[in-house]
Amino acid sequence: MTSKMPVTVLVPVYRGLDDARRCLESVTRHAATTDVTFQVQVFDDASPEQDVALFLDSVATEDAPAPIRVVHNPKNLGFVRTVNLGISESPGDVVILNADTVVTAGWLDRLATAADKSEVATVTPLTNFGSICTLPDAIIEAFGLEGTDPKVDECADFVHRQSLRLLPEVITGVGFCMYITREALDLCGPFDEATFGLGYGEEVDFCVRATRIGLRHIVEDSTFVYHYGAGSFGDQRKKRLAEASSRLHDRYRFFRATNTRERANDPLLLPFTSLELGLVERRIDRPHVLHLLHSPPEEVGGTEKHLRVLMKSLFSEFDASILYPVDHGFALRTFWNLGSDTPLEHEYLLPGAARRVTQVHDQVAGEALTTALDMFRFDAVHIQNLIGHSLAPLEVLADFPGTVVCSVRDLYLACPNHSLLYRNSEPCGVPADLSLCERCLPETRNLPLSYLTDFRTTAAARLDSVDRWVFASQSAADYFLRVYDVDPARIEIIPHGAVIRIDRPGRQVDEGLIFDEPLRLAFVGRGWAKKGLGVANELADRFADTSIEIHHFGELKDAASPMLHAHGLFDNEMLPELLHHAGIQIVLLPGPYAETFGHVMTEALIAALPVIGARYGALGERIRATGAGWTIDPTDFDGIHELVKSLDLCRSEVLRATRRAIEARVESIGGTAARYAALYQP
């Protein structure tokens, strides 16, 4: 403490018996648990209310721990003169406490401890009505501080528990409850009663004088003192404030600008944000999974949609958070169950740098994950996609005590050109001959071969960070195992659930459509080379003069044949109905890209349609497993042409495959959620 003399709590009272009673009761109630030696000096400033004087006489006591001395001013001196009178009679530090306040447990000890720091002039606690020290609205509402039954002690306890104890510095203290050090009083003198004698502005004037000689004003951000507020001066309050403001402006021309700047760069933003977050604390008894994603979860991609549905399916069992790269670093989004039907979604922006992560090990990405793991307790981490994170998470997760699951949705870990298309045209199949990669990578990714070798070496050294590798198909696992040596016991094959509803009516064979109508094939997906637009164009041209029709559903990225029936963008959820409406009998997926699963094939099966797809990758695997379609070599135009011609002539084969498509088992994401839940267990 700045002084070993007892602290004097000055309480000027003019009107308001109830306020004064509550205030003094609260001071007395917490006195027994207060370590600081203090005395209370109550001034009856010639109150016109008889009851006030009588009450004050009744509370006067010399008993420790809170001796209360009552002084009756013979005539009304006004707030400022009364306070100055008290200051002049106080031996040490003083606290100017408005009579319409309620103090809380530990208030004086914490204010005194803060005042004990070097060069402190004043210390102000947080409150519900006190200029910059006013708590955020959310907290005022949560504890009913503006209602008739405010939960004062509960709020004080909450503030004390949740506070960051940053003791932020402000340009001026606030007068409702201001602790003033003896040092400041000795150096600056009392309040300027000549200028501010009518009240308002005197504490600001005092604080500015203290600042000018190098003293500081701090906010004790773990202490809450309730303030009824605006009781003083009644209707004259606004007028007096305006006059005080004008006087301050005349005396300190810089003050308004300084005050405005402080409001804009609120020094209490961080403490208050922490308190607000305290209102929405996670239920720590619930397991918590951190998902690593390559883009914001609301994006339109399949992985994002899959994750959203997965989190929703596991909402009753698991809380989730998502770490993903954004323009200015990394963001962490919560998806917590706080007991209502709606998840609490709160986004934190972690410190970082530009979004594009191009290094094998990106330090910023590693630090972002470390920060995320420091922010909350997580029981499991699920890597949904490492793009945008580099390989840094695998290193960070080496020390993670919980389960680490990695879903291999694309083959980014095998090659940065994860479409595995040699020079973006032909499937490379992850060649052992790296001279092919040496030609491909500079062209497709602007990367040298050394990047690939370095990437794979780094990844291989960190594979043990992952406890369970999840693939949507065996073929994806096979591609991965061409590059990395992973213990088969740690591999799980979990086919992706459908991202659209699977319970569709009318999944039945329409023989009239199959036998009596022109053969119609639908190329579904983004209209570009990677997905096989070239094949669709070629077929459309070759069949231009026949009854066979080639349709396209999706966004056109490259030039399309005029013979292609282009339907444009569509809503995935409506795809089965759109296909039926267009009279489609077969879905054509001619992309050379080795799919790791193939969501469109799932959607085709939901629409009860067979599929033509690449013989390799997940499409080939699934077509062979279900019998719901035919496999092709996407680079063999003639072969595909012959197949389609044959199917046109042999509709019974189309019927057979249609029946197999109907029989094929399709699961929803919710249906697969239990398998993921099992993986998250330690």
Binding site: S131, L135, A264, T273, E298, L349
Partner: protein, 237 residues
């Protein structure tokens, strides 16, 4: 304070910093600065002469960038008539005064095409000949319509919906619905039109030559023409 309490406090601190960062980022993106809440308790009447309680200060957004752009645009307007180019990766640039200026907004690219003509396809190598210039972005003065600077001239924009700043509370009065992607809506239609134009055949021919060589492609084209002629004469099957 115990070690556990210290750890929890640090956790809270990092969370608060993350939330404050998000808040500040939202301000940057939203183009304004929220000052402290306008609730009764926070009111600061001592500064009534310049009170900003609860105010939204606009005009902070990207001012730094725009100033730099304007300086550059003012000195780089010489040269041939501006035109649009498109790369294989679908990025659209305005070639203006010898610089390539990226047009990030599909909405804007569509509007510029109407004035400057359709974008020409150029290879990455060719596009690399132009130095990077400032992007084509929408600017707005204190009065008058928003505009873009092209060829040293200010082209006013019509029909551009401008956002009006509102507070978080007001935003939260309405639940979020599906996203409206203006850029996608415009670009896909334009691309669809292009796809049906003669350019398709040029790209087809290029692809055929790459696959079969000049002679092979010519043969295939000739045989296609012959087939068509025969069908025209003989009627459709």
């Amino acid at each position: 304070m115990s070690a556990s309490e210290r750890e929890q406090r640090l956790q809270r601190h990092v969370r608060a910093m993350g939330a404050v960062n998000r808040h500040l980022q939202a301000q940057l993106e939203g183009g304004g600065t929220w000052t402290t809440s306008a609730s009764t308790g926070k009111a600061d009447l001592l500064t009534s002469g310049g009170s900003l309680s609860g105010a939204f200060i606009t005009g902070g957004r990207r001012v730094g960038s725009a100033n730099v752009w304007l300086e550059h645009l003012a000195v780089s307007s010489e040269g041939e008539k501006p035109f649009l180019v498109r790369l294989a990766n679908r990025r659209v640039f305005l070639i203006d005064g010898g610089y390539r200026r990226e047009v990030r907004s599909g909405l804007l690219a569509g509007a510029l095409e109407r004035t400057l003509g359709a974008s020409r396809y150029v290879s990455n190598d060719k596009a690399g000949r132009w130095a990077d210039g400032v992007p084509v972005e929408v600017l707005e003065g204190p009065q008058g319509p928003p505009f873009v600077v092209v060829g040293g001239k200010r082209l006013p924009l019509r029909g551009l919906p401008l956002p009006y700043p509102v507070g978080t509370d007001q935003v939260q009065m309405f639940p979020a619905g599906p996203e409206l992607n203006l850029a996608q809506a415009t670009v896909s239609r334009a691309q669809f039109q292009r796809a049906l134009s003669g350019r398709y055949y040029i790209e087809r021919a290029r692809s055929a030559i790459k696959r079969r060589g000049v002679v092979g492609a010519a043969k295939a084209a000739a045989s296609r023409v012959t087939r068509r002629a025969r069908r025209t004469v003989g009627g459709r099957r």
